[in-house]
C-alpha cells in the first residue's frame, strides 16, 4: 500500500467523515419511512412522511456529493503531482457544506409552515421543488461551493497540454456540475416548464455529470489499485464519457413524459433511454479488464469490493432496471409507483454511494498511516449493504408490480385502502431488508471511524488464522471474460423478462383484470435479476480473493485471453 504523498490530500478526510454522518442520517430516515409505510400514524404530526421523504432524498444527494468531493480532493494531487491549490478555500467549502446541510433540514420546517420567503419574485428560503427544496439563498451558497471546487481542481491540475483523458473528464465533470446547477435558479409558475429545469438539475447531474465524474474516478482508482495503464484507462474514460453524453443528454427526456410537455419526447425519450445502458456495459468491461490486468492479490479488498459493487449496481440498477421502465409504453404504468424506487435505490446508492465509500476505504487507511489493516469489517459491511439493498429493491419491485395492477390497471383508489392490503407483504419486506442495510451502515461507519484507532491483531496473524489453503477451484477459480459475459447476458435476459412484464400491462386481457402474465413475469424477472447479481458479485470477488493463495500470484502467470465480446 502506498503512503500519502501530499499533505493536502488529508483535507479529503473531513469530507469522508461528513459523508458517513450524513449517510447514517439518510439510512435512519429511510428506516422510518419504511416503518411509516406499515403504520402511517407513526410520528404523524411530528415527523410526517413527506418531510422525512424530502430529507431522505436531499441527504442522499448531499452525502454522495461529499463522497465525490472527498475523492476528488484525494486523487487531485496524485493526478497533478502537486499539492491542492488554496487549502483554505477547501476548509471554507467544508463549512459551507455543513451550513447548507443544516439549512436544508431547517427548510423542511419552513415548508411545513408555508413560509417561502418571497423577495423580488423569488422564493428565498424554500421553494418546495422535489429534490431542490432549499430556497434561493441556499442555492447561491451551493453555487459558490461548486465554484470553489472548480477553482481548486483546475488550479491544481497541471497545464492543459499535460492533461490526459482522466484530467479532462474530471475537469469537465466539475465544470458541468456547476453549470447544470444554474438551472436550479429558475423558478417558473408554469409547472410543465418548471419541470424541464428541475430535471435538468436532478437528472443531468445523475445521467450526464455524475456519470462522467464516476467514470473518471473509477478509472483513476483502478490505476492506483491495479497499476493499470493510464493509456488504456484513458481510452475507456474518453469513450465512456462520449457514450454517456450521446445517450444520456436526450435520454433524460423520459422525465418529460407525463408533465404536459410535447409528445415527441415520448419517442426520443424512449429511444435514447434505451441507449443509456450502453456506456455502463462498456464501463463494466473496462473494470473487469483492469481488475484482471495481473493476478496479484487484492491489497485493499474493501475498497475494491465497493468499487465493483458501484459498477455492477450501476449496470443493474441504472442500466437494466432503468431500461425496463423508461419506454413510454412501460413508464406509463411504472411512473411514480414502487417500481421506480427499486431502480432509484440501486442506481443512486449503488453507483455513486458505493464509489464514495470505496474511495474512503482506499484513502482513510493511508491518511491514518496504516500499512495494512483488518479488512474483515469492511468486507462484512459491503455484503450487508449489498444484500440489504438488493433485498429492498426486490421488495420495492414486486410491491410495485402489485401496486401497478391494483392501482393503475384496475383503477382502485389508494386512499380507499384497496391497495394497502395487497402490498402488505412487500411493505414488511422493505424494513426487514432495511434492518440488514442498517446493520451494514453501522458496521461501515464503525470501521471507517475507528480504523487505526482500535487494536487489531497483526494482519499476518489474522491471515494465518483464517488461511485454510483452499483449492483454487469452484467459485474461486479464475473468472474469464467469457464467463463474465455469460453473467452479464443472464442479467440482461432477466431484464428483458421484466420489460415484457411491464409491457404486458398494455394487453386487453390484463386490463380486463387478469394479472397472471405481469405477475408471472415480474416474479421470474426481479428475483432472477437480483439473485444473478448477488451470485455474480460473489463469484467475481471470490476469484479475486483466491489470488492471495496462488503461489504464482506475482503477476507473471497470465491466463488465456477471453474471446472478444461484441
Amino acid at each position: 500500500m502506498i503512503k500519502i504523498e501530499y499533505q493536502t490530500q488529508r483535507l479529503s478526510l473531513r469530507f469522508f467523515m461528513l459523508m458517513l454522518v450524513l449517510f447514517v442520517f439518510q439510512a435512519g430516515f429511510g428506516m422510518v419511512l419504511a416503518l411509516q409505510q406499515i403504520d402511517p400514524t407513526l410520528l404523524a404530526g411530528n415527523l410526517n412522511f413527506n418531510v422525512i421523504r424530502a430529507e431522505h432524498l436531499n441527504l442522499g444527494i448531499i452525502w454522495i456529493l461529499c463522497g465525490f468531493i472527498g475523492t476528488i480532493l484525494f486523487v487531485g494531487p496524485l493526478l497533478s503531482h502537486r499539492e491542492l491549490a488554496a487549502p483554505w478555500l477547501i476548509k471554507f467549502l467544508f463549512y459551507a457544506v455543513v451550513a447548507v446541510t443544516l439549512w436544508n433540514v431547517g427548510t423542511q420546517y419552513l415548508a411545513q409552515t408555508g413560509v417561502a420567503g418571497w423577495w423580488l419574485g423569488q422564493p428565498m428560503l424554500q421553494e418546495g421543488l422535489e429534490y431542490l427544496e432549499a430556497g434561493r439563498i441556499a442555492d447561491i451558497v451551493i453555487l459558490i461551493g461548486f465554484c470553489i471546487l472548480c477553482y481548486v481542481v483546475l488550479r491544481t491540475f497541471p497545464p492543459r497540454r499535460d492533461w490526459n483523458e482522466i484530467h479532462w473528464a474530471l475537469g469537465i465533470g466539475v465544470i458541468a456540475l456547476t453549470l447544470v446547477w444554474l438551472f436550479g435558479f429558475f423558478f417558473i409558475e408554469r409547472l410543465d416548464l418548471q419541470e424541464y429545469f428541475r430535471w435538468y438539475v436532478v437528472h443531468y447531474w445523475v445521467e450526464g455529470v455524475w456519470e462522467v465524474i464516476h467514470i473518471a474516478l473509477v478509472g483513476f482508482l483502478l490505476v492506483l489499485m491495479f497499476d493499470a495503464k493510464v493509456k488504456s484507462v484513458g481510452y475507456a474514460v474518453f469513450w465512456g464519457v462520449v457514450l454517456v453524453w450521446l445517450s444520456g443528454l436526450l435520454g433524460n427526456a423520459h422525465h418529460y413524459f407525463w408533465v404536459g410537455t410535447p409528445e415527441f419526447w415520448q419517442f426520443w425519450g424512449s429511444l435514447f433511454s434505451a441507449l443509456e445502458p450502453l456506456p455502463l456495459i462498456f464501463c463494466f468491461w473496462h473494470v473487469y479488464l483492469d481488475a484482471h490486468h495481473d493476478r496479484r492479490p487484492l491489497k485493499n479488498a474493501p475498497a475494491f469490493y465497493f468499487i465493483l459493487g458501484s459498477v455492477v449496481l450501476e449496470q443493474v440498477g441504472a442500466g437494466i432496471l432503468g431500461f425496463t421502465m423508461t419506454f413510454a409504453l412501460t413508464n406509463v404504468w411504472s411512473h411514480g409507483t414502487w417500481v421506480t424506487p427499486a431502480h432509484a435505490h440501486l442506481a443512486l446508492f449503488g453507483t455513486f454511494g458505493m464509489l464514495g465509500i470505496g474511495a474512503a476505504y482506499y484513502a482513510v487507511p493511508l491518511m491514518r498511516g496504516l500499512a495494512d489493516y483488518d479488512q474483515r469489517w469492511g468486507k462484512l459491511s459491503f455484503w450487508l449493504l449489498f444484500i440489504g439493498m438488493l433485498g429492498m429493491a426486490f421488495a420495492f419491485a414486486l410491491g410495485g408490480t402489485v401496486q401497478v395492477f391494483v392501482y393503475r390497471t384496475l383503477g382502485l383508489d389508494w386512499f380507499g385502502g384497496d391497495v394497502f392490503p395487497a402490498m402488505n407483504l412487500f411493505k414488511i419486506l422493505v424494513p426487514v431488508f432495511g434492518v440488514i442495510f442498517s446493520i451494514g451502515t453501522v458496521t461501515l461507519v464503525y470501521d471507517l471511524l475507528t480504523l487505526g484507532h482500535r487494536y487489531v491483531a497483526p494482519v499476518a496473524e489474522l491471515r494465518r488464522a483464517v488461511r485454510r489453503d483452499p483449492p483454487i477451484a469452484g467459485w474461486g477459480r479464475y473468472l474469464t471474460g467469457f464467463e463474465a459475459g455469460m453473467w452479464l447476458l443472464a442479467m440482461w435476459l432477466f431484464g428483458a423478462v421484466i420489460t415484457f412484464g411491464l409491457l404486458s400491462f398494455n394487453l386487453p386481457v390484463v386490463q380486463a383484470g387478469n394479472a397472471t402474465l405481469p405477475y408471472l413475469l415480474a416474479s421470474i424477472g426481479y428475483p432472477g435479476l437480483l439473485l444473478v447479481t448477488l451470485l455474480f458479485v460473489w463469484r467475481f470477488l471470490a476469484s479475486l480473493e483466491m489470488r492471495g493463495y496462488e503461489p504464482e500470484s506475482t503477476g507473471t502467470v497470465l491466463p488465456p485471453m477471453a474471446p472478444v465480446v461484441g
Binding site: 496524485l78 493526478l79 497533478s80 503531482h81 491540475f157 497541471p158 499535460d162 492533461w163 490526459n164 484530467h167 483513476f220 490505476v223 492506483l224 497499476d227 493499470a228 495503464k229 493510464v230 493509456k231 488504456s232 484513458g234 481510452y235 475507456a236 469513450w239 462520449v242 457514450l243 450521446l246 445517450s247 410535447p262 409528445e263 415527441f264 415520448q266 419517442f267 426520443w268 424512449s270 429511444l271 435514447f272 434505451a274 441507449l275 450502453l278 456506456p279 456495459i281 462498456f282 468491461w285 473496462h286 479488464l289 490486468h293 495481473d294 496479484r296 413510454a328 409504453l329 471474460g481 506475482t554 503477476g555 507473471t556 497470465l558 485471453m561 477471453a562 472478444v564 465480446v565 461484441g566
Partner: protein
C-alpha cells in the same frame, strides 16, 4: 471489413428493437399535426443516431480488449526478462 459489416448489422438490429419499443403508436402525432414530414425527420434522425451509438459501442469494446491483450503481452514480456515492469512506479499520466 467483414467485422465492420457484422458490427453494423448488429447495430442496426439492436436499433430496430429499440425503435420498435419506442414507437409511439399509442399517440396521434398531434404535436406536428400539420407536418408529418417533421415526424418522419424525427424518427429517421433518432434511428440513425441509435445505429451510430450501438456501432461505436461494439467497435470501442473490441479495441478495449485489444488494448488489454497488448498490456498483458507487455507484462508477460517484462516478467520473462525479470524486469520490474509490473512494479513500475505508478504512472498517473501527468508530467511531474
Amino acid at each position: 471489413m467483414a467485422q465492420r459489416l457484422i458490427d453494423l448489422t448488429i447495430a442496426i438490429l439492436a436499433s430496430i428493437v429499440s425503435f420498435l419499443l419506442s414507437w409511439p403508436y399509442f399517440r396521434n402525432f398531434e404535436y406536428w399535426a400539420e407536418s408529418h414530414a417533421m415526424w418522419l425527420v424525427y424518427f429517421v434522425v433518432g434511428f440513425l443516431l441509435a445505429v451510430y451509438v450501438f456501432y461505436v459501442l461494439l467497435r470501442i469494446t473490441r479495441t478495449l480488449f485489444e488494448h488489454d491483450a497488448l498490456d498483458r503481452a507487455d507484462t508477460a514480456a517484462a516478467a520473462a526478462v525479470n524486469e520490474p515492469g509490473a512494479d513500475a512506479k505508478r504512472d498517473t499520466g501527468a508530467r511531474p
